[in-house]
Every structure is written in C-alpha cells, then in structure tokens.
Amino acid sequence: MTQAKTDHYTNSALKIGQVDNYPDRVAGEFISKVVSNDSVNGEYKLIVVEVHEAALRAYAGQMFHLLCPSPDSSEVWMRRPMSIYRINRDARQLEFLYKVEGRGTRGIATLNAGDEFNIAGPLGHGFTLDPQWKNIVVLGRGVGLATLAPLSQLAADNGVGVTAILSARSPDVVMSRDLFEACGAKVVTVVDTDNSSEVGNVEKILAGLIAEKKADAFFTCGSERLLKLMQRLGREHNVPGQVAMEQIMVCGIGACYVCMRTFEVNGEKVLKRVCRDGPVFNMQEAVAW
C-alpha cells in the first residue's frame, strides 16, 4: 500500500547527457552508470562509473558521497563517503577503490556494469601543491592509498617528483603501485610480513629522503601511527604536510556538523568538518587518535 518512492528522489539528479542549467553548481547529485566493478584483491574492489561532465570537476583528495544499494532486504540509510581514486576526463569516468566492509560497501559490491549508481559530489577540500615544491613524499596504508592515488596524477601534471611509500600487510595487498609508477613516481613498498612496515624502518626511509632533499612536503592517509610519525619528522625538519582524515558523515555538504574532528590551530583546539573543511588538512594541525 505504500508507494515506491525511490524514483522521486532522483528527478533532480543529473543523468549523463542531460543539460545542466544550474549556473551556481559546485557539486551535484549524479546518476552515474557503472562501467565495471572488479575485485583488486581479496578485500578491495574498484568501481568505474561514467558520469555527467559536471562531476568531472573533481580533483585529488576530494570525495563523493555514494548512495549504496542494499545488500539485503533493508535500505542502507546513509550515504558513504569515498575518495576519488582516479579521474578519467577523456572517458568521462570516475573511479573509486573501496574496501568491502559493512552493509554499504557490500551493497556497492553488488553493482554490475550498466547499473545506475547515485553519487553526490565532488565534495570537500582536496590536496594542493605549492608551486615551490619540487619533490614530495606520499606515505599511505590500506584504504588510505585510495585517497592518495590521484596525487600521483596531480604531481605528474605539475612536474613534481614523487616518492610513494606504500604500506600494507603483505606484498599481495599493496595497491596503487602501478598508478604511481605510471606517473613516474619512485615507489617503496613496506610490508608487515618482513617487518619493513615498522615505524622505525619507515622513519629511516623518510629521514633518508629528507637528507636527499626529496621531501619538500609530506602527504599521508590511512594510519594514525604513520600520521604521528610524519607529524614529528615534519616538525623536526620543517617539512610542511597534508593529511586526509576520516569521520562518519551525514550530509557531506557542511550543514549537519556530524563529521567533526579535533585540530590544534596555533595551540588552540578547534573542531572542523571533515566533509567541507577537509577531508584534506594541514598535517601539523591534525590530532591523531
């Protein structure tokens, strides 16, 4: 007796090919079309979607808010935020690399080529490159690599050298290696299986890069432990940095104040919205958990 309501939701969401007649648009609700949705390894999948061109304004470090289909019989009530993994403007495609965790990501995992997928974005404040930086160091672990990946493209476009330190449990789950290498980055992988991912060893690698003048800026995401390490080295050696943070979200647009995290700005604690003030923040201001 209740009516299906899903159709209504999307009337004002932009489909591929539709005319966008809203001049103030910064972000949008888009009905994208799934191109592929394949497993990268046992835990991660990569979903490629075709979208309306207004969604391609996205840049590295920004995110989209995804309306996940249900993996069972009841709705997934809230959207899930995902970093943009890759922007392919020529093919009008966006890519998201995601870890299959709970109901939301299990729902995304059910999508097949040709399915519609409602995504909202691009949202938030992403990575920025200072024109003075010649060489940057990117340090990521786990799902954080998905967020850092588009930095490789951004750096290449700006003629900036990249050393990417990719941390993972074991060699077979190191992700984004190809992407970084294709953009000319020097890739170092460190893994738990041979203890090379231990903080002490990563610190040695970073110190070496600083000494070699290969570290004009630090970028990280995905590990509180590695964030703390980079913060300390950055302070000691005066290396500026940026970090992408996570928090549970509701609106994704800056209105609801659900996604707050603590930052320390000029010695004072402040709360900032991860969705709009971030997800990328000044590394020294971030307060790790």
Binding site: K5, Y9, S12, E29, L67
Partner: protein, 316 residues
C-alpha cells in the same frame, strides 16, 4: 498550473517545502538552487560558543539514524555578522532557529535576532533532545513553554515560530500554551529521544549516549500529532518528520499543516527539496488542484463510523 504559495501568518512562502533546521545551510547552494525553496532555515544558534557533543554524533539504526550534534556554533554575535549575510544573498525568507538553557537567554536571542532586517522569522527551538545529557527541554511541559514563549514574544515583533517535541506526552496542551503565549506558528516536531547500544562492546553508539531518532518510519506518529494539534489551535503548523516525497507533503497538509520541513530526505538525496517541489506541482496539476492551500486540513474524517474499506470499494 497550481498556485503553490501558502501563508504562514503574515508571511507568504512561494511553496510549502522548507528545509528543517540543523540539516540545512546556505552551502546547499552548491547543489541546488536555494531560490526555489519555500524558506531558508538556519541551524539552531545559541548565545554562547558551543563545542557540541562528543563524536560519534550519528549512528545508523534499523530504519534511519540517531544523531546527537549538541548545537555546536560560534554564538549569536558571530552568527549575525558572518552567517546571516550568507543567507541574505537568496530570495526566500530566512527563518533563524535559536536555543538556550533558560528563559532569559531565549528572550535575549529573540531580541538580538530581531535587529536584523535579513531575519524574517525567529524560531524557538525549545525541543532539542541533544542539548544536554538527559534529553529534557522546555517543550516537554506546557508551563515552561508558556513562560518561555511569553518572554520571547515581549522581545520581538517578528513572526515567532515554536518547534515542539514529540517526546511530550500531551503535545496538544503544550501547543495551546505556545499559541496563548503569542506564537505565530507551530513547528511539529523535533526528533525522538532514543538510544542505541552496540552489542560488540556494550557501549552506547553515540558519544552523548542519547540521540534524536530520524526516520521516514516515524511519519505516522508526527502526522497524528499535527492532526491533533491542528484541531486544537488556530495558528498555522509546519509538519516535520519523515517527508521524502510529494505525497508526504500532501498527507501533512491534509492533516492540517500549512507547510513542511525536510531533513533526512535531503541527506539521502541532496536534491530532494527541489524534486519534491516539482513533484508536488505535478501532483496538484494532475488532479486539477488550483491552489495547494486547498489541501490544508482537507482530511475527510467526519464519518469515521463507516468502514473505510467498504467506502473505498464503493468508490467514495
């Protein structure tokens, strides 16, 4: 084409679809054209600076979310100087919701907000369940409500809207007290005080323990409240709770609401407000309804002895 405008006291809204306080900000202009909305509704502001509540501030439930934000904000001064101008760029009237711990602060907020020509309406959020750890608030009691609204009424000539709590046992009495005290409109309702406990670590799922439940599932409860209050007061009502489509707007109007507020639906679909306005227009046009305001209180409930399934089968 249907005339979608509705009157809330002396104020005319171009259509009955407004955002709900706390789930909206001028930043939504990134995604939708704010000039199409019935009104703009700012997040509840307090006199003082507030951190808001510890995270997590949201947890998913069986069919919706519980949230406990705790009214974070930089205080009324910052708001008047920096936030009001952000809204003033748009055409729909600005409703500013405010909250306080005591009557003096409520009155002071009413006075302060009234100084700006850009503020069209003062909304008294006397029903926020996340302001403190207990979930208690003025709107639970008719006496507190009367005193608070009277004090605010003395300090403002702007339209004064009062947001009520679904946690009150006798909302009709609270509503009548607000009307007597000089409210121009009743906003029904805020969120349902709720709790979620995690079965993995036995801890409350929210940092502030209790939260307000938000879910389309609650619409029948709030609709009942709107219906009951509409029979008891003369001032207009704005229905808020679980609106996700144009038919929901119609249902609230039939029950007696003059307009609706929308929160959850816009989280799920950032373009929901505009979609609902467009669908409402189509719904009315398809039925030859000339003015959407004809729907207000138009529920057919005068022959409730009759078996309505029989009635339906007879084409009534």
């Amino acid at each position: 084409m249907v005339d979608l405008s509705v009157r809330i006291g002396d104020l005319t809204l171009q259509n009955p679809v407004t955002p709900a306080s706390g789930s909206f900000s001028w930043e939504y202009n990134d995604v939708i054209d704010l000039n199409r909305l019935g009104a703009l509704v700012a997040k509840t502001i307090c006199r003082e600076f507030r951190w808001g509540n510890p995270t997590p501030r949201m947890a998913e439930t069986e069919a919706g979310i519980i949230q406990s934000i705790g009214l974070p904000g930089k205080g009324i001064e910052y708001f008047m100087e920096h936030i009001v101008p952000e809204y003033a760029r748009f055409k729909p009237p600005l409703v500013v919701s405010c909250s306080a711990d005591n009557i003096e602060d409520f009155a002071a907020l009413a006075e302060e907000l009234s100084k700006s020509d850009d503020v069209a309406v003062v909304e008294a959020n006397i029903s926020c369940p996340t302001r403190n750890l207990t979930g208690q608030n003025f709107a639970m009691h008719e006496g507190y409500t009367r005193d608070c609204i009277q004090a605010m009424r003395e300090k403002t000539k702007k339209p004064l809207w009062v947001k009520l709590s679904p946690n009150a046992g006798d909302m009709v009495s609270v509503a009548m007290a607000a009307e007597e005290a000089g409210a121009d409109c009743l906003v029904i309702a805020n969120t349902f005080l709720s709790l979620k406990i995690r079965t993995d670590n036995f801890r409350p799922a929210l940092g502030n323990k209790f939260g307000g439940l938000v879910s389309p599932a609650l619409k029948p409860i709030v609709l009942r409240m709107v219906y009951q209050v509409a029979k008891a007061v003369k001032i207009p009502i704005i229905g808020i709770g679980g609106v996700t489509c144009a038919e929901d707007v119609v249902e609230y109007m039939l029950a007696g609401a003059s307009a609706v507020g929308i929160g959850y639906a816009a989280f799920r679909n950032p373009t929901a407000l505009v979609t609902i306005i467009e669908d409402l227009e189509k719904w009315c046009d398809a039925r030859g309804i000339k003015k959407v305001s004809e729907l207000i209180g138009a529920v057919k409930d005068d022959d409730m002895e009759l078996d309505t399934l029989v009635a339906a089968s007879k084409g009534v």
